[in-house]
């Protein structure tokens, strides 16, 4: 047994367990949660890049061309690939959590979760299609 227990009669010493700083490695759900929260970092990075893009645009065609060249370098391609995966994870987990917060009742019955999730995906696809159409047409 370890060192002298601090027990006074009728005053038992409760044992409080410390929460380890690696608590989130204990189970896959927790790890997934922490990754989900980390996606906010990559969303912030995307936003920063976007602001940089705007600044380059304002500065003129040379600055903009410079910006585009920078983006094509390997480190930035890697950053964007990783960031894209994280943002995808962010969007998917968020869609699946949406029905928890949004409770819609139609004629007294609760709209099932898959409808809410499905509507989110549908809206996402539509908007993406619209954006793709605008960007890719000649």
């Amino acid at each position: 047994m370890s060192a002298e227990p601090h027990y006074t009669p009728y005053h038992p010493r409760w044992y409080r367990r410390r929460v380890s700083v690696w608590w989130w490695l204990q189970n896959p759900s927790y790890a997934g949660f922490v990754l989900r929260e980390l996606t906010s970092v990559f969303v912030a990075i995307f936003a920063a890049v976007y602001l940089w893009q705007l600044r380059a645009l304002v500065r003129g065609p040379e600055a903009y061309a410079d910006f585009l060249d920078r983006l094509e370098t390997p480190p930035f391609l890697l950053l964007h690939a990783v960031a894209f995966l994280f943002v995808l994870f962010h969007a998917v987990t968020w869609f699946h959590l949406a029905p928890k917060a949004v409770v819609v009742r139609l004629s007294g019955k609760r709209v099932p979760d898959w409808v809410i999730v499905g509507l989110n995906y549908a809206a996402w696809l539509l908007l993406s299609a619209g954006v793709a159409f605008i960007l890719l047409r000649d």
Binding site: P9, Y10, H11, P12
Partner: protein, 580 residues
């Protein structure tokens, strides 16, 4: 020793106890009221009640009908003045609980819905899905949080009542978390400690139902009434004994023997109809249904499984929608504990001990003959349940008599002086007793589990659904032997902190006292009535036995039985007729 003083002390934090505490807080807000319980209140066994609570509310119903159903269901052994008060106050108490937030099931127009129940002529059982007790207990508990004046002692184990100058003046209890022994004085004590199902091996009851209050009252010298009347619920799961609510039958379930035959029709319970018929077949009273099972078993028409004999409860014809709406918890329990889906398969069931009609003798205000001591709920016997309780009457009983006992105890306490000074000496004696005989005990050769198992065996064999003199006499001797052996119990746990072996030993001693009361009362009642069936005296004998049996504690600790006539008002004893 720590001494805490209050005005009204409620022992037991279940439905009756919490209702009593609220009654005190509302009628006498200046009194100090405390609730002491060996578990947190939301763990009290009220929580597992499923079916419903009866009160007259529908147009085609009347108080007299409810009273007659209750009285005939009790085989005329209940006190009719108490039943009249009960049925009269029931609707108001139930409405009050609705106002306190209980989520009763509703009709489409928003009014309270009722369902039919065993032994009742008209639908009058209010229900909250099939978890009525759970919702009632949580509604009551959450309502008590509103009253700052109600102080709670959670996880304190009461070991004795303090009686001095001819009145009950408090309790001694062990604070489980620290092991500290505390004296709590009160001007009135209300025992709401529930029943004693764990005296039997096969029961729907939780581990905490050890008849604590009944033994405490018995040891304090006040009588315990009608202990021979033990209710067997006809449909419990084999092995675990988990309750399958009567609602499964009131919604239309059928009881089938091994040939798929609705065997209840052979036992003067009516003709089988496709839909449930009031007071007929599966909606008959619980004692008759359990007795029918035993008879079927004797004829070899029951099924045999790894855990003994059983029959089938068939609810498949109700359909999935009705099952999920009206009895979803039944489906959950069957899937989990038996691995079958009642929508597609039949549920194996057998009678299990469920309720104790007997209990601490009280009058219609919840007062025992000992001044300052009150009782309510399953721990008490007023008596409204007589020789057999109808399903859904006890959840209403805890409200009606919990309130009555609370009001009566508060009125009594308001007139009393503080506790006498010699109470502290008594409390210190109790502390010494606990320390010497249990806590500091070394040696001993009896294991608690062994003694408990032997008690279970003798109770199952001799005090079951059918009883006979020889078996009961042997049981009385065996229990006396177990009482002596229990003095030499060996404890492995000498800790002060949350010592559940100590509480198990104390609970065993309570259960042995209760078991002796049951056996002695059963031995001396030489007739058959309701749930007490003697194979050697198969007839009901109103001439000699239209009386309650009162068990008093004799000098040597064994029970001495006396009799008290039943109060008859408007319903002279008649025949119990079901199915016709």
């Amino acid at each position: 020793m720590d001494l805490f003083a209050c005005d009204v002390l409620v022992v037991g934090g279940g439905g009756a106890g919490l209702r009593a505490a609220i009654a005190v807080a509302e009628t006498h807000p200046r009194l100090r009221v405390a609730v002491i319980s060996k578990v947190y209140p939301m763990r009290s066994h009220t929580v597992s009640a499923e079916g419903g609570a009866a009160a007259v509310i529908k147009a085609g119903d009347s108080l007299d009908e409810h009273a007659y159903d209750t009285i005939s269901g009790a085989d005329w052994l209940c006190d009719q003045d108490a039943v009249e008060a009960f049925v009269r106050e029931a609707p108001e108490e139930m409405l009050r609980l609705e106002h306190w937030g209980c989520p009763w099931n509703r009709e489409p127009d928003g009014h309270i819905a009722v369902r039919p129940f065993g032994g009742m002529k008209v639908e009058r059982t209010w229900f909250a899905a099939d978890k009525t007790g759970f919702h009632m207990l949580h509604s009551l508990f959450q309502t008590t949080l509103k009253y700052d004046v109600i102080q709670r002692f959670d996880e304190y184990f009461v070991t004795t009542l303090l009686v001095d100058e001819g009145r009950c003046q408090g309790v001694v209890a062990i604070e489980l978390g620290t092991g500290k022994i505390q004296a709590i004085t009160a001007k009135a004590v209300i025992l709401c400690t529930g029943g004693c199902g764990k005296v039997f091996p096969f029961t729907t009851n939780a581990s905490i139902k050890n008849g604590d209050g009944m033994a405490l009252a018995y040891r304090a010298g006040t009588p315990v009434k009608d202990m021979e009347f033990v209710q067997y619920h006809p449909t419990g799961l084999p092995f675990t004994g988990i309750l399958i609510t009567e609602a499964a039958r009131s919604e239309g379930g059928w009881l089938l023997n091994k040939d798929g035959y609705r065997y209840l029709q052979d036992y003067d319970l009516g003709k089988p109809e496709p839909k449930p018929v009031f007071r007929s077949m599966e909606l008959g009273p619980r004692d008759r249904l359990s007795q029918a099972f035993v008879k079927e078993q004797e004829k070899d028409r029951t099924l045999v499984g790894p855990y003994g004999h059983y029959v089938h409860l068939d609810v498949r014809h109700l359909g999935e929608r009705v099952i999920d709406k009206k009895i979803p918890f039944v489906r959950e329990l069957c899937l989990k504990y038996v691995g079958i889906d009642p929508v597609k398969e039949m549920i194996p069931v057998r009678p299990v001990v469920h309720y104790m009609m007997g209990g601490i003798h009280t009058d219609i205000h919840g007062a025992t003959p000992l001044p300052g001591l009150y009782a309510a709920g399953e721990a008490a016997c007023v008596s409204i349940n007589g020789a057999n309780r109808l399903g859904s009457n006890s959840l209403t009983e805890i409200l009606v008599f919990g309130a009555r006992a609370g009001k009566a105890a508060a009125a009594f306490a308001a007139e009393q002086r503080e506790a006498s000074s010699s109470i502290l000496d008594q409390a210190q004696d109790e502390q010494r007793r606990l320390e010497d005989t249990l806590l500091h005990r070394t040696g001993g050769k009896e294991r608690i589990a062994t003694l408990r198992a032997e008690m279970h065996q003798v109770m199952e064999e001799s005090a079951g659904i059918y009883r006979a003199e020889a078996a009961l006499k042997k049981a009385a001797e065996k229990l006396q032997e177990l009482q002596e052996r229990a003095r030499d119990v060996a404890l492995e746990d000498h800790s002060y902190t949350f010592n559940t072996e100590l509480t198990a030993a104390l609970e065993l001693s309570y259960m042995l006292d209760v078991a002796q009361m049951i056996v002695q009362s059963a031995l001396e009642r030489t007739e058959s009535r309701g749930s007490h069936q003697r194979t050697d005296h198969p007839q009901r004998d109103d001439e000699r036995f239209l009386k309650h049996s009162l068990a008093y504690r004799a000098e040597d600790g064994s029970p001495r039985i006396e009799y008290l006539p039943v109060t008859i008002t408007r319903w002279p004893p008649g025949q119990r007729v079901y199915g016709r």
